[in-house]
Symmetry: C2
Subunit: 337 residues, 2 copies
Amino acid sequence: MAATMKDIARMTGLGLATISKYFNGGNVRPKNRKLIEDAVKALRFVPNEFARSLKTRLSRTVGVVIPELGNQFITSIITTMEDILRKHDYAVIVCDCRTDPRREKEAVTFLMHKRVDGLINMPTDTTGEHLKPALDRGIPIVLVDRMLKALSGKISAVVVDNVDASEKATRYLLEAGHEKIGLILGNEGIYTTQKRREGYLNAYAEFNIKPRKEFIRFSDYTLEGGYTKMKELLALSIQPTAVFVTNYEMTLGTIIALNEAFRSVPDDISIIGFDKLDMFGAMYPNLTLVKQPQNAIGECVAKQLLRLLSQTLPDPLNQIITLSTQLHEGNSVKCLK
Amino acid sequence: MAATMKDIARMTGLGLATISKYFNGGNVRPKNRKLIEDAVKALRFVPNEFARSLKTRLSRTVGVVIPELGNQFITSIITTMEDILRKHDYAVIVCDCRTDPRREKEAVTFLMHKRVDGLINMPTDTTGEHLKPALDRGIPIVLVDRMLKALSGKISAVVVDNVDASEKATRYLLEAGHEKIGLILGNEGIYTTQKRREGYLNAYAEFNIKPRKEFIRFSDYTLEGGYTKMKELLALSIQPTAVFVTNYEMTLGTIIALNEAFRSVPDDISIIGFDKLDMFGAMYPNLTLVKQPQNAIGECVAKQLLRLLSQTLPDPLNQIITLSTQLHEGNSVKCLK
DNA sequence: CTCCGATAGCGAAACGTTTCTCTTTATTAT
DNA sequence: ATAATAAAGAGAAACGTTTCGCTATCGGAG
């Protein structure tokens, strides 16, 4: 049906190897180059990627395994990544594992069967077990947003400096005179949760104040989770005067909970949120928040993977890239002094 | 390196064709079946999809082209779709075209090069021009959420009954005594925009009332868009007593605009929103809104594509599936009578 | 116990590239 | 002009499956 390189060879009178060379950037005499180009047009030739993959053992495809497609922080990273990878002719297969380690493992296996050339993963499983099939096949892996300590050295990662981010935010509140600061975290085992908790505690330590345990709440990075935890904080007999919420969805949930309780920000309570996404752009009051560089993350991940993909070295030259965050000052924090 | 079917043949003493038959569901004698299974385990054999694709001309991969990965209505559909397709061993390549027809066309071409077996598209280009390469190759296409009239008959689609949805919402407001109803729509050329406008006008016609032109605003289905248009409506000398907003992001924007203007819902103004997603689940007041069945849409799209993919018929048996919406009654509409 | 139809197994030829080795052609210096 | 050298082209063998057209084997009916 469709034209093949053989047809071009026949049409131009050239050898198969020459045609192949033409497509793979080799040198071909101008006269023949012209000949081939004409034939390609005439025959509407499109190289057969299947055959090419069979020979080269490369699919020009990468797999992306994430916890939730519904999470905007994640999709904003993926958008940038996908854009860059596609420009380099890599297709991106997305697998949403719904924050379920079993599904995550299945997704990795699935992608190995599809013979992706590389893997990008925002891990749900905190052990890193699920990545074994990929590690065994020796394909490059880049983790996003969350490091897995069990795999350090064998793997690349792009993360933000969560400890610093959280420390900055907490310090900002402490400096404004808040001593009772609520903290709404994600799932307890997750990398970012631990780091953000660490930063919070660091800041308290700096100020020589003991944080109250009941102000620190583990949740699950969903809107409902943030909503519920905020409600819980509001139900305490001793209430926080400020709350630091550690991701986008939970921040939205928090705000909804506050609206419902008729607490106004920052008069009744101060808030520092997370992730400058659409929603906050237009919001009033302008929220003070930790701004993660999603675009930079996506770009970094894509470029790191491309780098790994292009080197034929036996040692994969893995690296952990840490990006920094910014504290965006809005007017959702009231100064108590 | 990796084991091949030849190795299995050698190990079991069987012929290549038998091994192949085993993997493709053919009949193999129990004794031999056992033999093969043992060899597969011993050699850790995994079939080479490249070779298989070369022979069968199938990639077991489908392409998905969408306007924005950041749009939650879209991702909620994709999640369901991806899940079902992956269960059927199809990989999903996602291409975000950022609501740019040029990029959309590129995405389709890209996917054709990758030789996807089928295509799912929520079109940005209203002419359908971009799908020509796919149409030419004769692969099945399923449109999501938006129909393209130029392609009817040649293509399948899953949409919701937008006219009815919009009519129901508008009628609900009219019945509550609202005569000045603002309407915030998406991009003017888009299918859903036209249909939702049509429904609004139908309802007005039913009640024999003339709608005011200045209350109908075209926007772009983004949060900022909704925000801006709501501000515009609030700046009118004669203001609407109710507003119907026709997608999720714009509804969020609307609410932000109202909060900023200190208008409370439903006391100062009534609102009907669109798409019951996370955000509204926890919100107060409980928003009255048009509920689209995202899961059903995703499921329908996936199943329709699988159906088309499995038939070898020359005529693709395309169909347009229309799902209905529900009006979810909250308490964001005030009765004026 | 034989024979027959059905069932399972076999070998070889594809699928359409890339790449290795070898030959031919072009280029340059003498 | 000619030899030496470099560059470009040709042919054929792989990559690992599926499938076509046969042959061998099976189980049961006569």
